[in-house]
Symmetry: D2
Subunit: 303 residues, 4 copies
Amino acid sequence: MDYQLLLEDIVDTLRPELGKAGQVASYIPALARVPAAQFGIALRTCDGQEAHAGDSTTPFSIQSISKLFALTLGMQAMGEKLWERIGREPSGNPFNSLVQLESEQGIPRNPFINAGAIAVTDRLVSLFDAKAHMLGLLTSLCGEPIAFDDEVAASEAATGFRNIALANFMKSFGRIDNDVGPVLDAYFHHCSIRMSCLQLARAAGYLCRDGQHPYSGEQVLTEKQARRVNALMLTCGTYDAAGEFAFRIGLPCKSGVGGGIVAVVPDKLTLCVWSPALEHSGNSLLGMKALEMFAGRTGVSVF
Amino acid sequence: MDYQLLLEDIVDTLRPELGKAGQVASYIPALARVPAAQFGIALRTCDGQEAHAGDSTTPFSIQSISKLFALTLGMQAMGEKLWERIGREPSGNPFNSLVQLESEQGIPRNPFINAGAIAVTDRLVSLFDAKAHMLGLLTSLCGEPIAFDDEVAASEAATGFRNIALANFMKSFGRIDNDVGPVLDAYFHHCSIRMSCLQLARAAGYLCRDGQHPYSGEQVLTEKQARRVNALMLTCGTYDAAGEFAFRIGLPCKSGVGGGIVAVVPDKLTLCVWSPALEHSGNSLLGMKALEMFAGRTGVSVF
Amino acid sequence: MDYQLLLEDIVDTLRPELGKAGQVASYIPALARVPAAQFGIALRTCDGQEAHAGDSTTPFSIQSISKLFALTLGMQAMGEKLWERIGREPSGNPFNSLVQLESEQGIPRNPFINAGAIAVTDRLVSLFDAKAHMLGLLTSLCGEPIAFDDEVAASEAATGFRNIALANFMKSFGRIDNDVGPVLDAYFHHCSIRMSCLQLARAAGYLCRDGQHPYSGEQVLTEKQARRVNALMLTCGTYDAAGEFAFRIGLPCKSGVGGGIVAVVPDKLTLCVWSPALEHSGNSLLGMKALEMFAGRTGVSVF
Amino acid sequence: MDYQLLLEDIVDTLRPELGKAGQVASYIPALARVPAAQFGIALRTCDGQEAHAGDSTTPFSIQSISKLFALTLGMQAMGEKLWERIGREPSGNPFNSLVQLESEQGIPRNPFINAGAIAVTDRLVSLFDAKAHMLGLLTSLCGEPIAFDDEVAASEAATGFRNIALANFMKSFGRIDNDVGPVLDAYFHHCSIRMSCLQLARAAGYLCRDGQHPYSGEQVLTEKQARRVNALMLTCGTYDAAGEFAFRIGLPCKSGVGGGIVAVVPDKLTLCVWSPALEHSGNSLLGMKALEMFAGRTGVSVF
């Protein structure tokens, strides 16, 4: 299949819809001012072919897509012990809900809701410099330097009362070991990372390669771990719309409110789409359409 | 791969654990008296090969596995309109919970929790004789007569206060069109159906064949519909353990409290395991182990 | 104090507002067709003085005010044992909510929410003919025959899906001993009773007389029990507005969606107001205003 | 009535139970090391008579009893506007629950749960030095200097993750105007105040005197406001046991986890009991017994 042609065709098909519907995330200025009318798409196959089209090299705020890499760092460092404080089930509640934490004694449902990613970050902070390790992992996976957006991190920290509440709530149940401050500092910095579609398609490459680094071939995760991350992405990776993604797209995905979505076609390729305008579930509106088109044209649904 | 040898090996490996752990469902006498120390496994490939081992031809109460076939009948009859009253997202709550229904105005989260299956059954009851159509579908799919267990259906009706509450609660929101009585009568009869592992592996065959009937080749569902059923099974098919199934097994599954689990390997085969003793989530304890072994040995995880 | 003059003045003051705001309960035809522009008020002092004004002798559907008398029958018959299956705390949720029942294993918060009154009625049905005993109690307390409104009872039964759900849900937790049918039949009949303000002011008389029957002087309840019923009325008697009633009126009250409200001034008098149009909490809009005026003019707040 | 004799008799009656049951609050060291076997009781009548017995002059941590005085400061300063961000209904949930806040957009149910008192404190912090004003009010009401316990305040701040979560959660809904830090600093200091039974019986005196200062006679609150505070105490003042207090004691009460309970007999007297061991609801075990004995012997229930 000529992926380059396909991606260009998707870009052409969606161009008339650019900026027409959906809402750019507006809770911090740095996100609110991103022009809505942008769309990029990029993929990298298991064996290293790449294709990309549209605004595929424009960096954007990866936001919750960072949860994928925080989880990867946690699984690398702790293996099965990571799961002692974090569940693996869909939550059925909004990504920033506190309700379930109260009835479940501060144990978050999965690592892809905010509470879960904060709990993962707490474990990382216990082990090493979580901010440096995150940049190190991504820089290695992309083959080029990746950096935080300090303005975004500062804005998240200044307005992130819900996340501060989540962290303190878990700490009140004894589920956070470190001071809340450094944990949230790392968490907010992870969310602020800027990457392009092409960089993310490369960085996620180990997830379609049985855990192997896209360039060096070393094991980023074991095969089993890589498949498990894919399973978590499919069941929990796209906020309240995981069922809808599985139903319509049928691929493991992880989205962020910056408008990016990373998708994995196991044993074949990784894919990243980006368009800043979100639909009501917090996922990129055109990103979802593009993934549905891609899955429909290629027949790559895991189902 | 020699599936017959593999299934026999799984049976041999699990035999020492038979009846050692887990609890047989005990809420009605007909289920409570099923001997725990039974285990069966059967599969049928896309192209019609079959393999089975253990108690693979012993009929058991399919219980919630019937929700898979009720959904199939609903999708056949109503297409997209079915989704006007039923969601497609994981619920994050127990299968028989009423809590979410209250905050979501009587619309069940998905067709595999009790409320969702009752809502599907209501739609069927509006269209035709839901009991007869269910037996008709299963008899056609298996190539041999399938029947209700009237004792089980009567016991479910006599003790099913939670389900009666669910149906009336949805009706109080205007989400059930028919009288609650006939809807629950059909629902309880569907749950009471007795089938063996081999029969279920055959009956589910259309789910690995792009919707094609396992014998006649006619479309039971469209290809897209069949893939969507698989997606729903993976995200919502195993009560509160959907994340755990995806994580450990990586296949679309639908379980029942009778101890059966149907699994789909898309484009390859359908599989059914059965062992009556359940773990805390209501899924068959040895069934889950068997599926994990099968997925591990064959590498068929969708991830 | 000249109560007759006061009540007439309240009627005159509120007359311009009759039928101007609020909504008559519309969930069954027999309630929906009650003309909104009616208002009655009546009181009876401990020592037998009576005063009444406006539509004070017009019978109306007492609805949830019957919960007061069902509780009285239960306390008479069972004493402290009644509280084994029913709590005494405010619920913080709507009167017909199922949510709290799920987390509290089918034990209703108090006898004045629907679930609690159904649970009380179940205990009555175990002991005697609950319908006949209710009419017997009210006929004795009023000194004249009191009857059910069969049309209302039938309508409640035909449309009471939420109450049927509540009863079955409690039964699923083993909290209802009898078949749900007869329990709800009694409950719906109790709600259908028709009485006037004057009759209710008389019937509730024992609550301001240390439990003594308003005419015969025999103990309907013990002094302690009567004071406890008053306490329950104040904390739980007016749906979600118990705090608002305590804050603005300061008297134990029990309201019904027929627009009636019974209030107790301990050791002084009982009072009943009625006006069919309800505010958002389900309490009579003008009834609340009248009670606030009465409490303001007489200084009878218990606080 | 000879109150001195009565209080001494209550002390004698309860002495054998001292330290036998209940648990001293243990979440911070300064509370955990308070000896359980202490009991004090004190009252002051409208006209200035005082009686006290047992450990009635031993200072203890007033904890949530401070919410009564914070509310008083708020009503003094803001009148009806105070209620724009705080409800007046019982919550039906634990005092430190976050669940209801989520579904009710950050507006706490009433000023006596933690979230409500934090919201009141935020309003105070906007207006003046909330710590100084609190000490000023109490010093004036008692006629002698009242002070914070800095060790307790520091411990509360160091371990109060749940309260930090509550404050940030409300701020995420835009319901807290000030920085969370100073608001919680004031809140934790208010909770840390040390007073004796006798001091609290005096300080609460305005609540039984139509709002008049116990010594100076000036209006601390208007008559209406004072009665409304009493109403709130009765419906919401004792955590999850408001119904139980109303049922068994029948007086407006406000309790704290330090083991103190302030009670009001409107138009007659104010009363304070203290014993550190708590029952499961967080209220003083012997304090509740003492209040029940007092109400039984004197017949002062408002019902």
